[in-house]
Amino acid sequence: MQPEDIDKLFREKLQHHAPTPPDYLWGQLEEELQPAKKRPVMWLYAAAAVIALLLVVGAGWLLRGPNLGAGNQELAANTDQPPIEKKSSHQPTLQATAPSKTASKESEASSERLATVASPTPAPPLEVHTNRPASAAPSLRRAVARTTSPARSTTPKSSLTSSAPVQAVAAKTPAVAHPERPAVVPAALPSSEPMNAPALVAAAAPSGPIIVEVRHTNATPGATAYAVEGETGRRKSLGNLLLKAGKKVGNVVLDGRQINLPKVALPEVITAQVESYATAPHP
Protein backbone atom coordinates (compact mmCIF):
# COMPACT_ATOMS: atom_id res chain seq x y z
CA MET A 1 0.00 0.00 0.00
CA GLN A 2 1.45 3.28 -1.09
CA PRO A 3 1.37 6.25 1.21
CA GLU A 4 -0.90 8.10 -1.19
CA ASP A 5 -3.37 5.24 -1.07
CA ILE A 6 -4.26 5.89 2.49
CA ASP A 7 -4.80 9.52 1.68
CA LYS A 8 -7.14 8.50 -1.08
CA LEU A 9 -8.90 6.03 1.12
CA PHE A 10 -9.62 8.60 3.78
CA ARG A 11 -10.60 11.19 1.22
CA GLU A 12 -13.08 8.89 -0.41
CA LYS A 13 -14.58 7.84 2.86
CA LEU A 14 -14.62 11.10 4.67
CA GLN A 15 -14.91 13.73 1.95
CA HIS A 16 -18.66 13.54 1.93
CA HIS A 17 -19.09 12.28 5.41
CA ALA A 18 -21.86 14.40 6.86
CA PRO A 19 -23.08 13.48 10.32
CA THR A 20 -26.45 14.94 11.13
CA PRO A 21 -26.03 17.84 13.50
CA PRO A 22 -28.38 17.98 16.50
CA ASP A 23 -31.39 20.21 16.05
CA TYR A 24 -30.63 22.52 18.93
CA LEU A 25 -27.53 23.77 17.12
CA TRP A 26 -29.60 25.84 14.70
CA GLY A 27 -31.37 27.46 17.64
CA GLN A 28 -28.02 28.40 19.13
CA LEU A 29 -26.80 29.74 15.82
CA GLU A 30 -30.00 31.73 15.35
CA GLU A 31 -29.59 33.23 18.80
CA GLU A 32 -26.04 34.18 17.97
CA LEU A 33 -27.04 35.72 14.67
CA GLN A 34 -30.05 37.69 15.91
CA PRO A 35 -28.41 39.79 18.63
CA ALA A 36 -25.94 41.11 16.08
CA LYS A 37 -28.83 42.79 14.31
CA LYS A 38 -30.77 43.81 17.40
CA ARG A 39 -27.98 45.25 19.46
CA PRO A 40 -27.53 48.54 17.58
CA VAL A 41 -31.27 49.18 17.72
CA MET A 42 -31.32 48.52 21.44
CA TRP A 43 -28.44 50.91 21.92
CA LEU A 44 -30.30 53.54 19.97
CA TYR A 45 -33.36 53.10 22.15
CA ALA A 46 -31.28 53.25 25.29
CA ALA A 47 -29.50 56.39 24.14
CA ALA A 48 -32.80 58.03 23.20
CA ALA A 49 -34.29 57.14 26.56
CA VAL A 50 -31.32 58.56 28.44
CA ILE A 51 -31.40 61.78 26.45
CA ALA A 52 -35.14 62.18 26.99
CA LEU A 53 -34.74 61.58 30.70
CA LEU A 54 -31.98 64.15 30.93
CA LEU A 55 -34.10 66.68 29.04
CA VAL A 56 -37.10 66.14 31.30
CA VAL A 57 -35.05 66.33 34.46
CA GLY A 58 -33.16 69.37 33.25
CA ALA A 59 -36.33 71.17 32.22
CA GLY A 60 -37.97 70.37 35.53
CA TRP A 61 -34.97 71.61 37.42
CA LEU A 62 -34.84 74.83 35.44
CA LEU A 63 -38.55 75.53 35.88
CA ARG A 64 -38.75 74.61 39.53
CA GLY A 65 -35.43 75.98 40.64
CA PRO A 66 -36.47 79.67 40.75
CA ASN A 67 -39.80 78.91 42.45
CA LEU A 68 -38.12 77.00 45.20
CA GLY A 69 -35.74 79.81 45.79
CA ALA A 70 -38.63 82.31 46.01
CA GLY A 71 -40.46 80.01 48.43
CA ASN A 72 -37.48 79.91 50.72
CA GLN A 73 -37.28 83.64 50.68
CA GLU A 74 -40.95 83.91 51.57
CA LEU A 75 -40.47 81.56 54.45
CA ALA A 76 -37.55 83.50 55.69
CA ALA A 77 -39.61 86.67 55.54
CA ASN A 78 -42.42 84.99 57.44
CA THR A 79 -40.24 83.73 60.20
CA ASP A 80 -38.81 87.14 60.68
CA GLN A 81 -42.08 88.99 60.84
CA PRO A 82 -44.20 87.31 63.51
CA PRO A 83 -42.12 87.94 66.66
CA ILE A 84 -41.98 91.68 65.99
CA GLU A 85 -45.63 92.02 65.12
CA LYS A 86 -46.80 90.09 68.12
CA LYS A 87 -45.21 92.47 70.53
CA SER A 88 -46.33 95.59 68.71
CA SER A 89 -50.10 95.20 68.50
CA HIS A 90 -53.02 92.84 68.00
CA GLN A 91 -53.64 93.38 64.35
CA PRO A 92 -50.15 92.40 63.32
CA THR A 93 -50.72 89.11 65.02
CA LEU A 94 -53.66 88.60 62.76
CA GLN A 95 -51.51 89.37 59.83
CA ALA A 96 -48.88 87.03 61.12
CA THR A 97 -51.42 84.28 60.85
CA ALA A 98 -52.00 85.08 57.25
CA PRO A 99 -48.48 84.42 55.98
CA SER A 100 -48.22 81.20 57.87
CA LYS A 101 -51.42 79.98 56.31
CA THR A 102 -50.50 81.04 52.87
CA ALA A 103 -47.27 79.27 53.36
CA SER A 104 -49.01 76.17 54.57
CA LYS A 105 -51.35 76.34 51.66
CA GLU A 106 -48.31 75.65 49.57
CA SER A 107 -50.01 77.54 46.83
CA GLU A 108 -47.54 79.22 44.60
CA ALA A 109 -48.72 82.49 45.95
CA SER A 110 -46.54 85.15 44.54
CA SER A 111 -44.44 87.33 46.71
CA GLU A 112 -46.85 90.18 45.91
CA ARG A 113 -49.58 88.63 47.99
CA LEU A 114 -47.19 88.02 50.83
CA ALA A 115 -46.09 91.60 50.61
CA THR A 116 -49.66 92.76 50.94
CA VAL A 117 -50.15 90.44 53.86
CA ALA A 118 -47.09 91.72 55.58
CA SER A 119 -48.29 95.31 55.34
CA PRO A 120 -49.93 96.47 58.59
CA THR A 121 -53.26 97.43 57.00
CA PRO A 122 -56.12 95.17 58.04
CA ALA A 123 -57.52 94.77 54.55
CA PRO A 124 -54.89 92.47 52.99
CA PRO A 125 -55.29 89.80 55.63
CA LEU A 126 -58.92 89.72 54.70
CA GLU A 127 -58.04 88.77 51.19
CA VAL A 128 -55.84 86.06 52.40
CA HIS A 129 -58.48 84.76 54.73
CA THR A 130 -61.11 84.65 52.10
CA ASN A 131 -58.80 82.84 49.82
CA ARG A 132 -57.83 80.26 52.30
CA PRO A 133 -61.03 78.25 52.78
CA ALA A 134 -61.44 77.84 49.07
CA SER A 135 -58.06 76.33 48.48
CA ALA A 136 -57.15 74.86 51.83
CA ALA A 137 -57.69 71.14 52.17
CA PRO A 138 -59.95 69.82 54.98
CA SER A 139 -57.01 67.99 56.41
CA LEU A 140 -55.35 71.30 57.09
CA ARG A 141 -58.41 72.49 58.94
CA ARG A 142 -58.38 69.38 61.03
CA ALA A 143 -54.79 69.96 61.84
CA VAL A 144 -55.68 73.42 62.98
CA ALA A 145 -58.43 72.04 65.15
CA ARG A 146 -55.99 69.76 66.85
CA THR A 147 -53.50 72.45 67.43
CA THR A 148 -56.08 74.51 69.18
CA SER A 149 -56.15 72.10 72.07
CA PRO A 150 -52.86 73.16 73.59
CA ALA A 151 -53.84 76.75 72.97
CA ARG A 152 -57.13 76.07 74.67
CA SER A 153 -55.28 75.60 77.87
CA THR A 154 -54.32 79.22 77.62
CA THR A 155 -57.87 80.45 77.50
CA PRO A 156 -58.86 79.59 81.06
CA LYS A 157 -55.93 81.49 82.32
CA SER A 158 -56.66 84.46 80.15
CA SER A 159 -60.34 84.33 81.04
CA LEU A 160 -59.48 86.62 83.91
CA THR A 161 -59.32 89.50 81.52
CA SER A 162 -62.44 88.69 79.53
CA SER A 163 -64.82 85.83 78.87
CA ALA A 164 -64.67 86.28 75.13
CA PRO A 165 -61.72 83.95 74.53
CA VAL A 166 -63.42 81.15 76.35
CA GLN A 167 -66.37 81.41 74.08
CA ALA A 168 -64.07 81.51 71.16
CA VAL A 169 -62.40 78.33 72.23
CA ALA A 170 -65.69 76.62 72.88
CA ALA A 171 -66.92 77.57 69.49
CA LYS A 172 -63.79 76.50 67.74
CA THR A 173 -65.12 73.14 66.65
CA PRO A 174 -68.09 74.50 64.77
CA ALA A 175 -65.78 76.80 62.95
CA VAL A 176 -63.87 73.79 61.78
CA ALA A 177 -67.02 72.06 60.69
CA HIS A 178 -68.08 74.86 58.38
CA PRO A 179 -65.47 75.94 55.94
CA GLU A 180 -67.45 79.00 54.90
CA ARG A 181 -67.24 80.69 58.22
CA PRO A 182 -63.63 81.73 58.24
CA ALA A 183 -64.32 83.56 55.04
CA VAL A 184 -67.09 85.54 56.65
CA VAL A 185 -65.50 86.13 59.97
CA PRO A 186 -62.40 88.03 59.00
CA ALA A 187 -64.62 90.46 57.16
CA ALA A 188 -66.26 91.34 60.42
CA LEU A 189 -63.03 91.40 62.31
CA PRO A 190 -61.72 94.86 61.52
CA SER A 191 -64.98 96.44 62.62
CA SER A 192 -64.81 94.87 66.06
CA GLU A 193 -61.17 95.55 66.53
CA PRO A 194 -61.22 97.04 69.98
CA MET A 195 -63.54 94.37 71.28
CA ASN A 196 -61.68 91.31 70.09
CA ALA A 197 -58.20 92.56 70.19
CA PRO A 198 -57.44 92.21 73.90
CA ALA A 199 -58.81 88.74 74.03
CA LEU A 200 -56.89 87.69 71.03
CA VAL A 201 -53.69 89.02 72.38
CA ALA A 202 -54.28 87.32 75.65
CA ALA A 203 -54.79 84.09 73.89
CA ALA A 204 -52.00 84.53 71.47
CA ALA A 205 -49.25 85.89 73.63
CA PRO A 206 -48.95 83.01 76.08
CA SER A 207 -49.22 80.42 73.37
CA GLY A 208 -45.68 81.17 72.27
CA PRO A 209 -44.31 79.33 75.28
CA ILE A 210 -46.69 76.42 75.11
CA ILE A 211 -45.37 74.43 78.02
CA VAL A 212 -46.20 76.89 80.74
CA GLU A 213 -49.81 77.12 79.72
CA VAL A 214 -50.23 73.44 79.46
CA ARG A 215 -49.34 73.06 83.14
CA HIS A 216 -52.11 75.41 84.10
CA THR A 217 -54.76 73.62 82.15
CA ASN A 218 -53.89 70.39 83.77
CA ALA A 219 -54.91 71.68 87.16
CA THR A 220 -57.54 74.26 86.16
CA PRO A 221 -60.95 74.29 84.35
CA GLY A 222 -59.12 73.77 81.12
CA ALA A 223 -60.09 70.15 81.77
CA THR A 224 -63.59 70.88 80.58
CA ALA A 225 -62.30 72.09 77.30
CA TYR A 226 -60.54 68.78 76.83
CA ALA A 227 -63.65 66.90 77.76
CA VAL A 228 -65.53 68.70 75.06
CA GLU A 229 -62.98 67.71 72.56
CA GLY A 230 -63.27 64.07 73.43
CA GLU A 231 -60.50 62.92 71.19
CA THR A 232 -57.76 63.88 73.57
CA GLY A 233 -59.07 62.18 76.67
CA ARG A 234 -55.67 61.61 78.16
CA ARG A 235 -54.57 64.36 80.50
CA LYS A 236 -53.13 62.29 83.25
CA SER A 237 -49.67 63.69 83.31
CA LEU A 238 -47.71 66.66 82.19
CA GLY A 239 -45.51 64.52 80.05
CA ASN A 240 -48.43 63.27 78.02
CA LEU A 241 -49.66 66.75 77.37
CA LEU A 242 -46.26 67.89 76.38
CA LEU A 243 -45.92 64.99 74.03
CA LYS A 244 -49.32 65.74 72.56
CA ALA A 245 -48.44 69.33 72.07
CA GLY A 246 -45.31 68.33 70.31
CA LYS A 247 -47.18 65.88 68.08
CA LYS A 248 -49.78 68.42 67.21
CA VAL A 249 -47.20 70.93 66.31
CA GLY A 250 -45.73 68.31 64.06
CA ASN A 251 -49.16 67.57 62.59
CA VAL A 252 -49.67 71.16 61.73
CA VAL A 253 -46.47 71.25 59.86
CA LEU A 254 -47.08 67.98 58.04
CA ASP A 255 -50.73 68.55 57.20
CA GLY A 256 -49.98 72.02 56.07
CA ARG A 257 -47.43 70.40 53.75
CA GLN A 258 -44.98 73.08 54.63
CA ILE A 259 -42.02 70.90 55.23
CA ASN A 260 -39.57 73.65 54.64
CA LEU A 261 -40.72 75.60 57.66
CA PRO A 262 -38.00 75.70 60.25
CA LYS A 263 -38.90 74.33 63.62
CA VAL A 264 -38.18 77.65 65.20
CA ALA A 265 -41.28 79.12 63.63
CA LEU A 266 -43.64 76.42 64.86
CA PRO A 267 -45.01 78.02 68.02
CA GLU A 268 -45.83 81.13 66.10
CA VAL A 269 -47.78 79.16 63.58
CA ILE A 270 -49.87 77.65 66.31
CA THR A 271 -50.79 80.95 67.83
CA ALA A 272 -51.70 82.31 64.48
CA GLN A 273 -54.13 79.54 63.73
CA VAL A 274 -55.63 79.67 67.16
CA GLU A 275 -56.36 83.30 66.72
CA SER A 276 -58.00 82.86 63.38
CA TYR A 277 -60.43 80.35 64.77
CA ALA A 278 -60.90 82.15 68.00
CA THR A 279 -62.04 85.15 66.03
CA ALA A 280 -64.19 83.06 63.73
CA PRO A 281 -67.17 82.36 66.01
CA HIS A 282 -66.77 85.44 68.10
CA PRO A 283 -68.79 88.02 66.16
Binding site: M1, I6, P19, P21, Q28, E32
Partner: protein, 193 residues
Amino acid sequence: MTEADLIAACRQGSGRAQKLLYEQFAGLMLGVCMRYLRHREDAEATMLGGFVKVFRALDQYRHEGSFEGWIRRIMVNEALGQLRRKEPLHLAIDDYPTDLAITPADAESQLNAADMMAVLAELPAGYRTVFNLYALEGYSHPEIAELLGISEGTSKSQLSKARAMLQRRLAAANAQASGSTSSPKEFYATGRY
Protein backbone atom coordinates in the same frame (compact mmCIF):
# COMPACT_ATOMS: atom_id res chain seq x y z
CA MET B 1 -33.68 28.37 -5.37
CA THR B 2 -30.19 28.41 -6.72
CA GLU B 3 -27.10 28.84 -4.58
CA ALA B 4 -26.68 32.43 -5.77
CA ASP B 5 -30.27 33.25 -4.82
CA LEU B 6 -29.79 31.66 -1.45
CA ILE B 7 -26.66 33.67 -0.83
CA ALA B 8 -28.39 36.87 -1.91
CA ALA B 9 -31.32 36.19 0.43
CA CYS B 10 -28.93 35.46 3.28
CA ARG B 11 -27.15 38.73 2.64
CA GLN B 12 -30.44 40.54 3.01
CA GLY B 13 -30.83 38.96 6.41
CA SER B 14 -33.60 36.51 5.63
CA GLY B 15 -33.78 34.07 8.52
CA ARG B 16 -35.42 31.46 6.33
CA ALA B 17 -32.63 31.62 3.77
CA GLN B 18 -30.05 31.40 6.53
CA LYS B 19 -31.70 28.28 7.84
CA LEU B 20 -31.78 26.75 4.36
CA LEU B 21 -28.11 27.47 3.85
CA TYR B 22 -27.28 26.10 7.27
CA GLU B 23 -29.21 22.92 6.64
CA GLN B 24 -27.52 22.48 3.31
CA PHE B 25 -24.00 22.58 4.72
CA ALA B 26 -24.28 21.84 8.43
CA GLY B 27 -23.78 18.07 8.18
CA LEU B 28 -20.86 18.31 5.85
CA MET B 29 -19.17 21.00 7.90
CA LEU B 30 -19.75 19.13 11.10
CA GLY B 31 -17.91 16.26 9.44
CA VAL B 32 -15.03 18.57 8.60
CA CYS B 33 -14.85 19.90 12.14
CA MET B 34 -15.01 16.44 13.61
CA ARG B 35 -11.98 15.41 11.62
CA TYR B 36 -9.95 18.08 13.35
CA LEU B 37 -11.40 17.97 16.82
CA ARG B 38 -11.44 14.87 18.89
CA HIS B 39 -14.59 15.68 20.87
CA ARG B 40 -17.96 16.00 19.25
CA GLU B 41 -19.06 18.96 21.37
CA ASP B 42 -15.93 20.87 20.37
CA ALA B 43 -16.67 20.09 16.75
CA GLU B 44 -20.25 21.33 17.11
CA ALA B 45 -19.15 24.54 18.78
CA THR B 46 -16.58 25.04 16.05
CA MET B 47 -19.17 24.53 13.37
CA LEU B 48 -21.46 27.08 15.00
CA GLY B 49 -18.66 29.61 15.23
CA GLY B 50 -17.79 28.88 11.63
CA PHE B 51 -21.36 29.51 10.49
CA VAL B 52 -21.51 32.75 12.41
CA LYS B 53 -18.40 33.83 10.52
CA VAL B 54 -19.88 32.60 7.26
CA PHE B 55 -23.02 34.70 7.69
CA ARG B 56 -21.11 37.75 8.84
CA ALA B 57 -18.60 37.51 5.99
CA LEU B 58 -21.10 36.57 3.34
CA ASP B 59 -20.74 39.96 1.68
CA GLN B 60 -17.09 39.21 1.06
CA TYR B 61 -17.82 36.10 -0.95
CA ARG B 62 -17.04 36.97 -4.58
CA HIS B 63 -18.45 33.85 -6.23
CA GLU B 64 -14.94 32.76 -7.13
CA GLY B 65 -14.52 29.06 -6.67
CA SER B 66 -17.14 26.88 -5.09
CA PHE B 67 -19.25 28.22 -2.27
CA GLU B 68 -18.76 24.97 -0.41
CA GLY B 69 -15.01 25.37 -0.67
CA TRP B 70 -15.32 28.90 0.71
CA ILE B 71 -17.35 27.71 3.68
CA ARG B 72 -15.01 24.80 4.17
CA ARG B 73 -12.00 27.09 4.37
CA ILE B 74 -13.73 29.15 7.00
CA MET B 75 -14.55 26.01 8.93
CA VAL B 76 -10.99 24.71 8.71
CA ASN B 77 -9.62 28.00 9.99
CA GLU B 78 -12.13 27.97 12.82
CA ALA B 79 -11.19 24.39 13.62
CA LEU B 80 -7.50 25.23 13.68
CA GLY B 81 -8.17 28.09 16.08
CA GLN B 82 -10.25 25.86 18.29
CA LEU B 83 -7.59 23.18 18.12
CA ARG B 84 -4.96 25.55 19.43
CA ARG B 85 -7.15 26.27 22.42
CA LYS B 86 -8.29 22.71 23.08
CA GLU B 87 -5.51 20.45 21.94
CA PRO B 88 -2.14 22.11 21.65
CA LEU B 89 -0.38 20.80 18.58
CA HIS B 90 2.48 18.66 19.77
CA LEU B 91 4.15 18.84 16.45
CA ALA B 92 7.61 18.08 17.75
CA ILE B 93 6.68 14.80 19.33
CA ASP B 94 8.40 11.98 17.51
CA ASP B 95 7.94 8.82 19.44
CA TYR B 96 6.16 6.78 16.81
CA PRO B 97 7.89 4.41 14.38
CA THR B 98 7.72 5.65 10.83
CA ASP B 99 7.82 2.36 8.99
CA LEU B 100 4.66 1.58 7.11
CA ALA B 101 2.86 -1.63 7.84
CA ILE B 102 2.30 -3.67 4.73
CA THR B 103 -1.33 -4.60 4.50
CA PRO B 104 -3.61 -5.42 1.62
CA ALA B 105 -5.08 -2.28 0.12
CA ASP B 106 -8.60 -3.60 -0.01
CA ALA B 107 -8.67 -4.60 3.61
CA GLU B 108 -9.75 -1.13 4.76
CA SER B 109 -12.84 -1.17 2.64
CA GLN B 110 -14.63 -2.95 5.40
CA LEU B 111 -14.44 0.06 7.61
CA ASN B 112 -17.20 2.62 7.37
CA ALA B 113 -16.83 6.38 7.71
CA ALA B 114 -17.49 6.37 11.43
CA ASP B 115 -14.69 3.85 11.99
CA MET B 116 -12.34 5.93 9.92
CA MET B 117 -13.26 8.98 11.95
CA ALA B 118 -12.53 7.07 15.12
CA VAL B 119 -9.14 6.02 13.82
CA LEU B 120 -8.40 9.57 12.79
CA ALA B 121 -9.43 10.89 16.18
CA GLU B 122 -6.88 8.64 17.88
CA LEU B 123 -4.03 10.40 16.11
CA PRO B 124 -2.11 13.05 18.00
CA ALA B 125 -3.43 16.49 17.19
CA GLY B 126 -0.38 17.46 15.12
CA TYR B 127 -0.47 14.38 12.91
CA ARG B 128 -4.18 14.60 12.54
CA THR B 129 -4.12 18.24 11.56
CA VAL B 130 -1.43 17.90 8.95
CA PHE B 131 -3.00 14.78 7.52
CA ASN B 132 -6.40 16.47 7.35
CA LEU B 133 -5.03 19.53 5.66
CA TYR B 134 -2.94 17.63 3.16
CA ALA B 135 -4.97 14.53 2.36
CA LEU B 136 -8.51 15.79 2.71
CA GLU B 137 -8.41 19.52 2.19
CA GLY B 138 -5.76 19.38 -0.47
CA TYR B 139 -3.42 21.98 0.96
CA SER B 140 0.19 21.89 -0.08
CA HIS B 141 3.06 21.59 2.38
CA PRO B 142 4.02 25.26 2.05
CA GLU B 143 0.41 26.23 2.76
CA ILE B 144 0.23 23.93 5.76
CA ALA B 145 3.53 25.24 7.05
CA GLU B 146 2.20 28.76 6.88
CA LEU B 147 -1.18 27.88 8.39
CA LEU B 148 0.32 26.11 11.37
CA GLY B 149 3.40 28.20 11.77
CA ILE B 150 5.76 25.28 11.22
CA SER B 151 8.43 24.52 8.69
CA GLU B 152 7.72 22.68 5.46
CA GLY B 153 9.94 19.81 6.55
CA THR B 154 8.00 19.42 9.76
CA SER B 155 4.80 19.33 7.77
CA LYS B 156 6.17 16.56 5.56
CA SER B 157 7.49 14.46 8.40
CA GLN B 158 4.25 14.89 10.32
CA LEU B 159 2.33 13.71 7.31
CA SER B 160 4.40 10.60 6.82
CA LYS B 161 4.16 9.73 10.49
CA ALA B 162 0.45 10.27 10.41
CA ARG B 163 0.12 7.98 7.44
CA ALA B 164 2.11 5.23 9.09
CA MET B 165 0.13 5.43 12.26
CA LEU B 166 -3.16 5.45 10.41
CA GLN B 167 -2.18 2.43 8.41
CA ARG B 168 -1.29 0.48 11.54
CA ARG B 169 -4.46 1.51 13.26
CA LEU B 170 -6.53 0.67 10.24
CA ALA B 171 -4.99 -2.74 10.00
CA ALA B 172 -5.66 -3.37 13.67
CA ALA B 173 -9.23 -2.14 13.39
CA ASN B 174 -9.74 -4.12 10.24
CA ALA B 175 -8.41 -7.31 11.79
CA GLN B 176 -10.66 -6.79 14.75
CA ALA B 177 -13.66 -6.12 12.57
CA SER B 178 -13.03 -9.06 10.24
CA GLY B 179 -12.19 -11.39 13.07
CA SER B 180 -15.28 -10.67 15.05
CA THR B 181 -18.00 -9.91 12.57
CA SER B 182 -16.99 -11.11 9.12
CA SER B 183 -18.45 -14.27 7.72
CA PRO B 184 -16.24 -16.92 5.99
CA LYS B 185 -17.62 -15.74 2.70
CA GLU B 186 -16.25 -12.29 3.28
CA PHE B 187 -12.91 -13.73 4.29
CA TYR B 188 -12.86 -15.52 0.99
CA ALA B 189 -13.84 -12.40 -0.85
CA THR B 190 -11.14 -10.37 0.81
CA GLY B 191 -8.52 -12.90 -0.26
CA ARG B 192 -7.50 -13.99 3.20
CA TYR B 193 -7.74 -17.61 2.26
